[in-house]
Amino acid sequence: MGAGEKLRALAEDENLRKRLAGCYQCGMCTGGCPVAHVKPDYNPRRMLEAIILGQYDEILSSDLIWLCTSCHSCLERCPQRIEVSELLIELKNLAAEAGNIPKLLLERAKRIAETGESTPVSKASLVWREKLNLPPITPVNVEEVRTILQATDFPGWLERTRSSANGTRS
């Protein structure tokens, strides 16, 4: 099933219908959104509207979806208790599957898959750790991380998306 079909299935999903049924487009999610404040193109209310109206492709192909910081203000403030930011994470999953994923994010995911860590140890921090009398960093069991990831569709997915990743927007 392609990402578009998956989103269609998600949108037709009774659960999601229930989750979105209460949205009366008040815009509280957008009003409290830190990103919308500096970048008016980014508009969570409009994203919900698009899902309700079935305009899936527009959402999945837009790189705006990746601008959510997951600060969860919208989730806390929605008068209808729609978990907007959680829904946006599901949409990011689908956009990623459709090959819409920022390059740097893909690189970070790859690093986690290969090393188990989201950021490598910096030389400076090794010096600081010693000066600060901190114990050595315990090694991570990368084999376990890889084995778990191998059992998910994460590696294949990394492979599939590698060629289609977006550049950084700045």
């Binding site: 950021t119 140890v121 600060l132 315990t138 778990i148 950084t168």
Partner: protein, 298 residues
């Protein structure tokens, strides 16, 4: 569960690999209050939600579940200085405890490495342990060098507070615990606008301009409030406000010059530790703060 004064220590990638001064400050403070931090062998990336959760829920749940099982084996609750790790591990813990289908799926993945999620531990953040386990009274009794006259702006960090049904730590819109922890050091917590605004850090790798514009908003408000420094409880917010502060100044042609402290760094100073002991390897110098507090520094 677990012994009250012992925790499985989960510093998270950014603190252990990039910002060990946060780890040092946490260890010094917690040690002074009789809390023992036990190393979590083999544990690592929580995993980071922005890259992994945004890319696939199963992978995310499997890796988070793995970290949780390591603490379960140790029979200690997890303690982390990072709200990102706190949020990820608490979200995963809650899903795996309450959603039997997610638990089944995660345990299928975990069985490949001989692990099983049982749901036996909790996940705590430093600020919460200080505020509710150790308590303000005990902390007040340990203050040797009150930070009188210091005007502090507090920044909690979104993932410490929200989603509130997961974090269960404070009111997400009007939080008070970090302000109370600041006041107990003798410093003043100054009110300022847009206090619960996100730091913008998570999107810095996607849209740097938007990310910096969000951080700028906060830095301007902190400066307008006349605060001497900003106190955070999150390594990612520290990167955004401290490491990136000069770049943000350059981008907008403005000067903020706001020193940033992780909360326990400030507490270390109030507890009489020297500036050298906390190893303040930050970008924005804290000289003005130290002079105001009459704390010797190089």
């Amino acid at each position: 569960m677990g012994q009250e004064a012992r925790y499985a220590w989960f510093p998270g990638c950014w603190v252990s690999n990039r910002m060990p001064y946060i780890e040092a400050a946490d260890r010094r403070v917690l040690d002074a209050f009789g809390i023992e931090l036990v190393e979590m062998k083999d544990a690592r990336c929580c995993p980071e939600p922005y890259a992994v959760l945004g890319l696939g829920r199963d992978a995310w749940l499997g890796l988070a579940g793995r970290n949780l099982t390591i603490a379960e084996e140790m029979k200690y609750d997890i303690l982390t200085p990072c709200p990102g790790c706190y949020n990820t591990l608490r979200t995963a813990n809650s899903s795996l405890r309450n959603d039997s289908s997610e638990r089944k799926r995660a345990n299928e993945l975990l069985s490949k490495v001989g692990r099983e999620f049982k749901g036996e531990i909790q996940v705590e953040h430093t600020v919460n342990v200080l505020h509710s386990k150790i308590g303000l009274e005990k902390i007040a009794g340990a203050i040797k060098h009150p930070l009188s006259g210091l005007r502090v702006a507090t920044h909690y960090g979104c993932h410490l507070l929200k989603p509130s049904k997961i974090t269960c730590i404070d009111d997400p819109e009007r939080p008070i615990i970090l302000d109370e922890l600041v006041r107990v050091t003798g410093a003043e917590s100054v009110p300022y606008l847009r206090k619960t605004l996100c730091c913008g850090g998570p999107i810095s790798s996607v849209d740097e301009n938007a990310s910096y514009a969000i951080a700028r908003e906060k830095l301007l408000k902190v400066k307008q409030a006349g605060a001497d420094c900003l106190v955070v409880a999150c390594p990612a917010c520290m990167i955004q406000y401290d490491t990136n502060q000069h770049s943000i100044e350059k981008t907008f042609g403005e000067a903020y010059e706001i020193p940033v402290f992780y909360y326990t760094e400030l507490l270390c100073l109030a507890m009489g530790m020297t500036f050298d002991e906390i190893g303040f390897h930050h970008q924005v110098k804290a000289d003005k703060v130290l002079e105001k507090l009459n704390i010797p520094h190089k």
